[in-house]
Symmetry: C2
Subunit: 458 residues, 2 copies
């Protein structure tokens, strides 16, 4: 049984209020609410009238250019972390000396660069951070979200008032097949995917097969997701693929122009090996009250809600559970937790979503798991144009992972940066008009670790 956070009683919505039904028998894990973050507190911007010391703000954020190749520039992970830290502090209008705790998300540093212990890297390259308690968190492709959740817990606990979160990954150090092998460390090694040429394209192809079995799946819809993400990326000056060129067959089932990688996953269905970093500065209501100048910059947003569920590593054990209408019920639970904490009834109450599209299939899954369509009907939202930047519920206006890039440990943080830029009207050509509330969904492995956030205008 879950305990209930103090103050949750009056603020929490009943489970299922977000429009995602609670399947029978899965309601025992109740969701403590982000109580103090709900309702009137969201509107308070003067820093003088906030009722809580534990509501969490994102004061600003930064993303490196995901098209860069750090090795080719003669740079290493320390340069990446330094740029991410300095850029993040500057955007948030904070100084290194303001940082009271540091959380770093990184998934595969020891494999790609030989460098572990990255919690200590910020203090290595930014002397003013010497002595600040720091940690590194790894949850495969969800590492950045786990780092964020851990920083939030430190703040909510009253340990610290202001936290730096950095996600960083260098991957372009090895040939593609070696990179694919490294990424396999996030599956259950030796227990699944052993027949695969490439573990993850194979894994998400298997997820597509499961959808096909349950609901039918036309692969043209996967190609359409890839095409939209690449099209969106063109407008994003930090996107990895913004300058790539495609022809009319790039998003088809033409074996020459869009070759099969594994199973039904083709080249443009895949996010690509990426170097990159991202960061956010988080602060409590109490800290913001003492530093009201941070709100006058127009960069601050609130974290309205979050969800986090972890299940076993193997994909088969997930899809074979018969406990509800969703192919991956724990993913729906994660999203519902975030919605409930944020007081969001359903996906269309959001102005947009940055979701995990390591492959087009993971975004296809996210569409119905977010409740944009009923289970199995994701294709309808694609055909209706709902996901377009000016659609009913824009998904990945940044270009997502397929168009924007996927430096693994940075991705969850990058999503929060893009979501924050959207709700502060700073998203440039990727801007969703009048956005005030955005969600993220970040998954590690075959959704073994699943995290979601909702951020809102301050």
């Amino acid at each position: 049984m879950r305990s209930t956070a103090s103050g949750a009683g009056e603020a929490a919505r009943p489970a299922g209020a977000c429009g995602i039904p609670s399947p029978p028998g899965r309601a025992s894990r109740t969701t403590p609410s982000c109580g103090p973050l709900l309702g009137p507190a969201i509107e308070r911007t003067d820093g003088d009238d906030m009722g809580s010391d534990t509501g969490i703000w994102i004061l600003g954020g930064y993303q490196t250019d995901f098209a860069r190749n750090f090795g080719r520039e003669g740079k290493g992970v320390h340069d990446l972390v330094q740029e991410a830290v300095e850029g993040t502090l500057a955007d948030a209008g904070t100084r290194a000396a303001d940082m009271e705790v540091i959380h770093v998300g990184n998934a595969f540093g020891q494999l790609f660069t030989g460098q572990g212990h990255l919690g200590a890297m910020p203090a290595t390259v930014v002397p003013e951070l010497w002595g600040v308690p720091a940690s590194r968190h790894e949850a495969a492709c969800a590492s950045g979200s786990i780092a964020t959740l851990s920083a939030m817990a430190d703040l909510e606990a009253g340990r610290y008032g202001c936290a730096l979160v950095v996600g960083a990954e260098i991957e372009k150090t090895v040939p593609g097949d070696t990179a694919a092998a490294h990424l396999g460390a996030a599956a259950w090694v030796g227990h699944e995917g052993e027949d695969a040429t490439f573990v993850w394209p194979w894994m998400f192809s298997a997820l597509a097969d499961e959808y096909d079995r349950r609901y039918g799946l036309d692969d043209a819809h996967l190609r359409a997701i890839a095409e939209l993400n690449h099209r969106n990326a063109k407008a994003n000056p930090l996107a990895q693929a913004r300058g790539w060129t495609f022809d009319e067959k790039s998003f088809s089932d033409d074996d020459e122009h869009n070759p099969v990688v594994d199973g039904r996953t083709r080249r443009t269905d895949c996010s690509q090996v990426t170097d990159g970093g991202a960061g956010v500065v988080l602060a409590t209501d109490g800290w913001v009250r003492e530093h009201p100048e941070v709100l006058r910059r127009g960069t601050a947003v609130r974290i309205l809600g979050w969800g986090h569920r972890t299940v076993g590593l193997p994909l088969a054990a997930k899809t074979q559970r018969e406990d509800g209408p969703y192919v991956l019920s724990h993913v729906a639970d994660t999203i519902r937790d975030a919605f409930d904490r944020a007081g969001v009834a359903e996906a269309t109450d959001l102005d947009g979503i940055e979701t995990h599209d390591c492959f087009s299939m993971s975004e296809y899954m996210a569409i119905d798991h977010f409740g944009i369509t009923p289970p199995g009907d994701s294709w309808k939202a694609i055909e209706a144009g709902d996901l377009e930047r000016d659609g009913r519920i824009p998904v990945n206006p940044s270009g997502g992972l397929i168009g924007g890039g996927h430096p693994v440990g940075a991705t969850g943080v990058r999503m929060l940066v893009d979501a924050s830029r959207q709700v502060t009207g700073r998203a440039g050509e990727t801007q969703v008009e009048d956005a005030s509330r955005f969600a993220t969904l970040n998954i590690g492995g075959s959704t073994a670790t699943t995290c979601a956030f909702v951020v809102g205008r301050a």
Copy 2:
């Protein structure tokens, strides 16, 4: 400037009250106190009269036999995690269904076993943990302490009431020189230790050189630390080296019987490659109040205080700072933070310490940094027999890392298990008579990540 946790004002001792002087100019990072954990609350055992919902208990813990070789048994990291989880739950008198969040400490899994994403391993091998939010934390040899701190933050924040912490490491999968190279990922790769045959023996030899430069150092005192840890390990039925045999020259400077590994570090000065796991169940005052049966088992202790500081990766940058009497001033700060939060005035107010002795030199450093002697005088405590199990302040009665074993990601958790067993009178032949308060010190890399805890009798 650090913020101050609510309630800290009335409970915190002034900086320096722990007997470790505050060097000038380093007092700006104030220490939020564990307020609710101090004073009368420590004595409350009936579960009905606890004033706080955020004080943290260790309900029980478990350690695998560190002499085992999992590979030779045909077992893998999943078997190790399963045993650690099940053993921990049983010792704490809790069920898997009680666990609301899971934190896993693991340092080098991707290198030694190819397996990352270990936050999801408990749910992989213990079906009842399916869906419970989980994370993996890496801070080199301090990974287990970082996992514990992260679990505590989740509880203190009111997110959850009961947490499972597991530390696990499989290392006996590769030859010794490959293992040494893997462990090098915790230094600043490519920037230090490049002339070393073995990075860490070289690194702690360099620390010995720094002590020698400042205060003089007779290596016989390092050998004496190694000898004591091995002697203590004989009484510990879970210690890696409990059955090893030594002769009178094993702890000497005889090149044949105790060969040089690197610099002034000899074979018996080193902890050895180890497979092992450890776990604890943590709970809040509120959870314990709702489950009073857990206190009747005699296994529960309180976490009275903690400290956590992170500095840059390279050793040279640490020892070259001229900001106080300590060779590694941030280590003294970490211990002082833990002491202040726990209301401990000085080391001799403790009944014992489990400290990090990856090498005898790291324990030599810990002796004066804990304030057992003034800076540079660690040898005096060794000569006086202060550290013996029946001495003035027993250090590593378990055998520590040198005698007990050092499965890297498990070590910080194992220390808490041993400390908890000591203060509940369950330490068997390693028992320190009438122990009621124990501290731990766990370091990652060359102390880049440093964590300390104080636990006390419930």
